[in-house]
Amino acid sequence: MTSDAPRDPAIDAIRPESLSGLADVPEAVDGEGAARPGRFSALGLVFDSDLTAPWMEPAPDGAPADVTVRLGPVPPPPEDAPWAGVWRRVADETLVFEASNLRMRLTAGRRIEIDLDRPSPASRETATLTLAYGAMPALLHQRAAMPMHAAAAAGPAGAALFVGDAGAGKSTFAAMLAGAGWALAGDDLIALDLSPGRPPGVHRAMRTARLFDDSTRALDRIGEDGAPVGAAISAAGEGVGKEVRALADAPGVAWPAPLRAVFALEWLHPDDAAPELERIHPVQALVRLRAAVGRPEVATALGRDAGYFMELGRLAAQVPVYALRRPRRFAAAPEAAALARRVIENASRGDAGKEGFA
């Protein structure tokens, strides 16, 4: 990346080559050294990909690929190509990202090309994480599919979506529900199913969570008494302090899972206060949801803002949005997560508005 390029924390976080725990990832390479395509499912899409990892969701048999991912040459963007966040818009439907270890090109939301022929090439593992966390938001924008910078978990009763500022606990809450028997829909990046004519839903993103170190340690402590949080698959993010983990799956969830509620995570004082839940008026809900759109600068560059605004209005109209407040101490989080879970379960029984926590 050139020195004047905007920085993308998600991509920065996964650039270091000091990734650990992936030694057992099979190199998807055949005897002649060429990459062997694999198939995985994420974000409501099927990928036919040269890069795969065990923590990716297998694609359903026979499902046609929506997106192809190929390793191969990607030319550098023209110097005058306009920026769209960390991406360069080299044509109406083509974005290029350039770093010292790889170059990526996204075309029309249907094709991803990754060039590892760089001065200090990324490992396949880093390239795979870059694909998962760096490329996908822009790819979704190309598809007008509105990526959300959020975390979500789903159980048989439906899905909970967590939004909030960096460090608000989105990953922790979703992982906590996943540790209590729900499935992690995704973390950091969520794709919603906003198909006309049916209630909003949450697609399975990746079965991984990016957790801050303190959350990881705290969840490990909870894991001693309950379900394990999952083995670390990567230490990522020098200076960001997040670790990527693969989380256990859970049965009984049909994807996309119906979105029962959105929780905007906030802090509460004093430290011994009980968690609070407050339904937010749809206008404020719209504001919160809009703030959670991932990589908004790419959305703006691609002219998606107006369409997303309409979709967010529909979301705010159809799905209750709550402010979920709890003290900063970690021990308060499980009680707050249990509150969220009750909301989801009550909503699935048609008891929305009778949460019984007042």
Binding site: A285, L286, A306, M310, G313, R314
Partner: protein, 94 residues
């Protein structure tokens, strides 16, 4: 406001419907969200094409079965708010 003043939406204003009666508008480059009630939403809808103030008043008076003077008076605050929010433009009659 004069009868021949022309009212029009400013380009690029985004809209989101949050209920059957409520619309939220957001102007270009703005972070001020404008919630419109049913009547203000109706006004916004009618301004999809530029319109003379007198025509807007007449149309609303007919549909709401109210005297034009009352409609014109009631419209004042709504139009002021929409104008100050950068959501509509009022071009005074020549």
């Amino acid at each position: 406001m004069k009868p021949d003043d022309m009212l029009s939406r400013r380009p690029g204003v985004m809209e989101a419907r949050i209920s059957e009666d409520e619309l939220v508008l957001l102007g270009v480059g703005s972070e001020s969200y404008y919630g419109l009630d049913a009547i203000a939403s109706d006004v916004w809808g009618r301004l999809e094409a530029p319109m003379r103030f007198a025509d807007l008043v007449a149309a609303l008076a007919a549909d709401y079965d109210a005297p034009p003077e009352t409609i014109a008076a009631d419209l004042g605050p709504t139009l002021t708010s929409l104008t100050e929010g950068g959501l509509i433009e009022i071009v005074p009659a020549g």
